[in-house]
Symmetry: C6
């Protein structure tokens, strides 16, 4: 099986060298965890190191801000776009939602929603084929969960993932952690792999850590590894492990602090 190196420093050695080609991998984390940086680096390294074009799909941020934010790491995305190596497309969830709303009024939700999911998928696919992309980064799956009904959400997530799997890209999709943290989300069951980014404190210091929850067909690392967001992007310390306490992890989720435990 062909492997796709992520280019994230220290990460590939945790998964036997890279993702399995054409798999869909989930990346979960809270605000400030560095999901967008992880995905940008995955695309940027793909272009620079392996000459694999990539598509960045955003549902919320503007491409301009994404490019601006990545300047901090010295990544010139604008140039790559001009060279037809990169596409950053914004699929507008507002237009999407409005469409849904109108369809709800007319009482024909089912078809419209599928039609809209199709529209989203077509937009993504058009960019993928346009530059013959091999890597795809989608931020975030949460924007597609346009229903309060969990059965409906399961349907949408499954349909979306299965379609993306057929695009001949190795895909990374982000997901917000917004539900009850003691439950797994549906996408954690459906994706081929799950990478969790978690931020917590030990004795007042903020520690970022990464864990591979699963990676089907791969003998993957199972340790919680520290990482930093440096000027050069994300660096995973694959030789270190983080030993903390449960209570620490929760503290930052609530944007607070923990000190020395007795």
């Amino acid at each position: 099986m062909a492997r796709v190196p992520t280019g994230i420093s220290g990460f590939d050695e945790l998964i036997e060298g890279g993702f399995i080609e054409n798999d869909v991998i989930l990346l979960t984390g809270g605000p400030g965890a560095g999901k967008s940086t992880f995905g940008s680096q995955y695309l940027y390294a793909g272009i620079m190191n392996y000459n694999e074009p990539g598509v960045y799909v955003t549902f919320e941020e503007t491409p301009a801000r994404i490019m601006r934010n990545m300047w901090r790491h010295g990544w010139d995305m604008e140039r790559l776009i001009k060279e037809n190596k990169l596409r950053i497309i914004r699929v507008d969830p507002i237009a999407y939602d409005r469409y849904i709303m109108r369809s709800m009024e007319t009482g024909q939700q089912g078809d419209h929603e599928n039609a809209t999911l199709e529209t989203v998928l077509k937009q993504i696919y058009a960019s993928v084929t346009e530059i013959d992309a091999k890597r795809l980064f989608i931020d975030s799956l949460t924007s597609l969960k346009i229903s309060p009904d969990p059965v409906h959400v399961r349907h949408i997530v499954l349909e979306f993932i299965k379609n993306i799997e057929s695009f001949d890209c190795t895909t990374l999709i982000t997901s917000e952690i917004n539900k009850d943290p003691e439950n797994f989300s549906v996408e954690e069951y459906l994706a081929e792999g799950v990478i969790c980014l978690k931020v917590f404190r030990i004795d007042g210091e903020r520690i970022r850590s990464l864990e591979i929850l699963k990676m089907r067909g791969v003998k993957h690392d199972e340790v919680l590894r520290p990482y930093v967001i440096s000027d050069k992007g994300i660096i995973v310390y694959s030789d270190h492990s983080v030993i903390g306490k449960e209570a620490d992890v929760f503290s930052l989720q609530r944007c607070s602090i923990l000190g020395e435990e007795d």
Copy 2:
């Protein structure tokens, strides 16, 4: 009563040699626990060691990916399919859901849903009879819970299990752990046996463990046993027991870590 050895190394001795023939057994666990590996191994061992054909029913994964993922363990499922010893069928929950949706629009949910459940059962039964299967693995029951109403879900789960019981197969069904972990799910009450896969950490190391919650009519083991997912598949250490703390178990569910407790 005839017994069906699972072929999972170290497991059968926990249940007096095997499942009771034609029982329906539940296998619960989170993402990455190894449910699919457990089920594949059950079918593979049935064919290789006991010459019992088997059917693998998936609602979400494609048969191609299942076969690919099992290559890691050296199981050549493609060959077994050609020899008519194995079937991997995907029953499409999307088509299924769409059907439900349309029926909801017309306001005749009751009959349609039963009709659809019948369709699913007929598809499974057709494969079972085609190769005269003795073992059945269904992944996962959660996909069938297509209603937000718990009364309705109870009905579906009961109807499904009772029908499967009449197929003359010894059946293993997986179930996701997605509900409130302090409550048992309806399938844990309705199935003849329940095997729980749980992953947690002790002092930073990830430990996989298996427990038999119940096995009606069987004098079963009641200890939490460690297991590993090796190159040869799952190995249960039936002579060891896992002594951990409650808090440890929860940590991994949230994809985090626990250290040395004071």
Copy 3:
């Protein structure tokens, strides 16, 4: 007041010799706690030791599997049925549910539901009178809670219990623990007595325990007593008490483990 010995070894001495005649007693517990064994033993001992015929009402299991599972304890239920001392009847909740569904479509839920509850009660009563039963075991009340509306459920449970009270039987009804464990269920308030089966771990060993939450009009034991499911059925150790920790009790509910507490 006449007393009805349960025949459960070690149990009757906790309640002044037995249930009060014609009372309705609730038996709660999770999967694998032994509720069905408790009820079967109550009926079997009634027939063998006190010559009191009994009826076993199941909403989910088939009579065949019940008989099979009780073989482990050497109880020949089939013979007792032939001798007209025992009836095992399955009242089909699926047919029942379908009936409700149809009535919901026609918008006349109230009457239909009562009609159906009547049907269930008539089926039970017919078996009771057929063999002049004195003991009744119903597994489980949870199957009757066919509404998401707690007010409606309260109505059903009350109507059901009050009708069963008029059958001239001493009745044991099981109930699943599926709700928030910090709340009492409505049946715990409405029944004359409540017996709780609870399974937990102390230092890695699984311990089964029984507690009498209430028994109206009876001076009952208030200690948590250990019990085992032996080859001869349930044995309560009325001279022992279980001293554990709260956290232990919860661990098994989640199918996990607890070790030595510091």
Copy 4:
């Protein structure tokens, strides 16, 4: 202000000698806490010691079982009924519910519900005037909460309490603890006084305790007092206090056990 001694041994000295005449007092507790015994004793002592007739209103239990259960304490309620000192009336919540259901079908819930609440109040008032009762015991308020809408429940509870206040009786009303234990119920805000019965374990022994949460216009005790349900009824040890731990209290609510804490 006239005071009404309860006749509960050891209780009156906690509230300056008795309830304030014509107040409505709430009595909360779980199953097995002894709410019915407390209320029966309040009525029985009123008749025997103060020659004040009393009415026992039950929504769920039959009068026959209430009388039977109180035999344990040597209280001959049947005689008191014959002497026109006591009435035990069952107001049927089933008929009541059915009425509501029908009104819901016709879409005129508001008026019907008030009409029904009026019917219940009229039935109670008829018994009160018939024997010129001075004491009233109502078991339980929970049965009247016939709506899933908390605004509606608030309305019903307020209307009911305010009407009962006009009956020239000193009234004790029970309430189940079924909601989130960290929240107060609406009746705890609306009643003039609140008495809480709580059962918990300390080092394996079950301890019953009573606490006066509030008693408007009265300088009341604020300590948690132990009580027992003896052959003579409830005895409160007003000179003792219960010092336990929070965790203990919760354990019994879940019908479990607590041991020695480290």
Copy 5:
């Protein structure tokens, strides 16, 4: 800015001498915390010490009972009413609710609700102008939350507070603590000031404490201060502070007890 001394012994020094004139201040607490006593004392001291007439608005209690309960503190409210210094008015939430219900039936909720809120405000304003009141006490805001929809409740609370602000009174409004205690209620955000009454136990003794959560434009105390409900009313010990544990606070909310912590 003019200040309004509350007359609560020991309280004014915590807030630079008194409330800011015409502000709306929230007073939160559970049953038995002394909210009504606090408000009565605020009005009584206003009349006796500062010659400022006051209006007491109750949605649930009758004026007769309020006057009776305050006798314990020697406050002769009846005389003050005769002297036109005090008004106690009961705005009937039942009539109010019925009105809403009828409007819901007719499907024109929006306007009716506003009309009703207007009616309530007009009743209050009429009393305020009648005696030229400078102080207003409203018990409780919770009664006005006549909708299960939090958006709707937010609207009602905001509209109510903003209207009351225009009455030229310095107003104290009570609010029950009935929601999830880890969340702030909408009124805590909207009011100019928030005073929290909390009752808990330390080593078996019930301790009442007061804390000023906020007081806009005022440099206020931030310490948890003990208070008692004495024969003379509420006394705040502004020189003492309460040092307890989190667990203690919660214990009384659940009407239970806490002992010595190890």
Copy 6:
């Protein structure tokens, strides 16, 4: 990239000198945390130190009270308004809500809501252009969440933020903490930066602290910093850090207290 100094003493050095120009930054906190003071100071310093006009948008407070409350810090907002350096506008959420309600009655929610959001945005934009504002403070985003449907709320928040981003202002928006504290809110994901204000107790003393959860494109501080609300406004102690315990943080959220931990 141009930076916008906030003028909050000690804060700018945590974010490389200031916000990125034209970004939308979120400020979260409970009642009494000082969100309004933070925002007023941001605008006031902008005018006084950098000659950048500012607009204060309030959905709930009246401009008069805002000006009054800021007098405590010696900020003469009235003068700045006269000099056309400042605008304080109140956008009326009541009128807004009524509009929504009417539209809901007519069944055309989608368009009306967008129309209303447009009206709100136009009002804000008119003030911004009127004085050529460079800074914008909006208090609070919570008032705009006029739907119980989280999908709808996500839509509103996204549409609002994206429109505000186009106003050529550097914007600070407050948000109440009212949801489950273990979950992040949608705005924490969508905003470019998130500043959290948190109040807790250590050994009886109330401690205010500030943490930067994220700031896209900026190398920001990650330590929990103490701050005070002084007569001169907010002062952040960027050289100190707060080391507390998780339990402390929660205590004040519930308006309670924590003492010395053992």
